[in-house]
């Protein structure tokens, strides 16, 4: 997610020609690339393959068409040499935070990965991208925004912090220094003392704004800064109890900063397991995650990203009809919302 610095264009023989293009033209090439790829995926109709042994017809020629694309950056005749895939077109995801990247995401992406170290910046990104998607004539909720979150989870906050410190102490400062230097256009940090608070730092790119605002806000030493970047390369890292992590997720999710999260466990598989066993149940109890629908049937990723609501509403339709078990009275909370959530769980939709 951190490698989007240099060129946009294309590969192979055509790449060399395209390298001569200006910056704006390279993005035009990326747009053209998308057009070609989509056309190739669409070059076979859903019902093109008949696979009919008796008649000897495998596919209907009139349901497969060439794309005959002749553009500035690509010349592709098509069609694709493969029947249409189950989703028609695979789901499109993007990780763009530059201006051009955001516009590109607003045009094409169904899910977006993004990096923010605080909720305010996540909210600003969220609002901007949803508005850009709407301006492209797309429904804003068809673009799912997933900020990165790297949670160190333990039964107490002290233990979570101890674990984070343990990992930081295993980091080699030179590695972090080199990486930081890469982010700041090759700036040499080798003379900077590790343990004195940082003053002003000048940056070359917008992507480094995240780091700059952290330096301004918290005035860390270089060692502290490297430690906070070592966690997840500029993504949001947090150490705490399951309760604290769930609170944070709920807060960003309900306060317009995220539609979900790109979970980046600091330690694999251990921190994934702790997250799944301790944080996920809290999210379910709060009605934020799969409360509804019990076991998830096999289906496409696109349906999964867009369609969970369908089962919820179907489940809702049976609410209040006295179906399913009435539930354990002790488990029932007073609020109707809780009752409804419990109903869904008991009904096992």
């Amino acid at each position: 997610v951190e490698h989007r610095h240099v060129v946009a264009g294309n590969g192979g023989r055509q790449l060399r020609r395209r390298r001569q293009l200006s910056h704006a033209d390279r993005y035009a090439c990326a747009e053209e690339f998308m057009m070609v790829v989509k056309a190739l995926w669409d070059s076979w109709a859903d019902d093109a393959v008949t696979d009919d042994r008796a008649s000897g017809q495998y596919a209907r020629a009139d349901r497969i068409r060439p794309i005959n694309h002749k553009g500035r950056c690509n010349q592709v005749t098509g069609p694709l040499n493969m029947p249409r895939c189950p989703q028609g077109r695979p789901v499109l995801v993007q990780a763009g935070s530059s201006d051009t990247g955001r516009r590109f995401a607003a045009r094409h992406a169904e899910a977006v990965f993004t990096a923010h170290m605080d909720k305010a910046s996540a909210r600003a990104f969220y609002v901007t991208l949803k508005a850009l998607a709407a301006a492209e004539g797309r429904s804003p909720d068809k673009v799912i925004i997933l900020p990165g979150l790297s949670p160190m989870v333990a039964s107490t906050e002290v233990e979570a912090r101890r674990l984070a410190r343990e990992l930081n102490e295993l980091s080699a400062p030179e590695v972090g220094r080199k990486r930081l230097s890469g982010r700041f256009g090759g700036h040499d940090f080798s003379r900077l003392p590790l343990d004195r608070p940082l003053g002003s730092v000048e940056a070359a790119r917008s992507r480094t704004e995240v780091i700059l605002s952290l330096v301004r806000r918290e005035k860390p030493t270089l060692r502290q800064l490297l430690a906070s970047l070592a966690g997840a390369r500029g993504h949001f890292t947090v150490a705490g109890t399951p309760q604290q992590i769930a609170d944070l997720i709920e807060d960003w999710f309900t306060d317009g900063g995220a539609d979900g999260f790109n979970i980046m466990p600091p330690l694999l598989p251990a921190m994934l397991d702790v997250f799944s066993a301790e944080v996920v149940p809290l999210l379910r109890q709060r009605g934020l995650f799969h409360l509804l629908c019990g076991q998830d049937p096999a289906r496409t990723l696109r349906a999964r990203l867009a369609g969970q609501r369908l089962e919820c509403i179907a489940a809702f339709a049976s609410f209040g009809r006295g179906g399913c078990r009435s539930g354990d009275a002790k488990k029932l909370r007073r609020s109707r919302t809780r009752q409804f959530f419990l109903h869904l769980q008991l009904c096992n939709f």
Binding site: L15, R19, R26, C85, S150, L167, I263, R299, T300, F316
Partner: protein
């Protein structure tokens, strides 16, 4: 095809329920309370949290690879990725994600930053799972559209419709050196 068709049908069904509950709320006071509740809560319930597992090295902390608590498997062992995919699927995550780089990092001697090619890994993860989505990074800069459409199309067939492409329109300068350029 069938799956797509029925999803569309359900979309219509869902809209119908929405329309009906609004209508009843207006027309029938006895039902109004229940449907009012629907109107208020369906919108919040509708919005379900999405979780993606980003798989990177033995964890996202740069020192995770040497921590005693991380996986003992080699980072070139496919079982490591298949196992993580299964765990995420079991926890009801929507998807797993693999990023990519087209050049060896400068810190390769001290960081576990060399990895398997993502599309290949996801093909193996696809056959080890049945529900979870899978997202791989690929570049428009260093791929031909025909190759890319074919790779992700194949992955979508192999996984039965669970694949996404993370579009990267640009890349590290060092990668150019591996594709006939001098690096930028």
């Amino acid at each position: 095809v069938v799956a797509r068709g029925s999803a569309d049908a359900m979309d219509g069904f869902a809209r119908a329920i929405f329309a009906r509950s609004t209508h009843i709320a207006v027309g029938a006071p006895r039902f109004a309370q229940v449907t009012d509740f629907a109107a208020r809560h369906v919108s919040t319930m509708n919005r379900q949290l999405h979780l993606n597992l980003f798989i990177h090295s033995r964890g996202h902390h740069e020192a995770s690879w040497r921590h005693k608590g991380s996986s003992p498997l080699a980072l070139t062992d496919i079982r490591y990725y298949q196992d993580l995919a299964r765990r995420a699927e079991h926890a009801l995550f929507d998807s797993i994600f693999l990023a990519d780089q087209l050049a060896l990092g400068e810190d390769a001697a001290q960081a576990a930053g060399a990895w398997l090619e993502p599309v290949t890994v996801l093909a193996a993860a696809a056959v080890a799972t049945s529900r979870i989505g899978m997202i791989a990074t690929a570049s428009t800069t260093y791929s031909e559209p025909f190759n890319l459409a074919r790779q992700f199309g194949s992955l979508d067939h192999i996984s039965n419709g669970r694949v996404a492409w993370n579009i990267v329109t640009s890349w590290l300068a060092t990668a150019a050196g591996n594709f006939g350029g001098a690096g930028n």
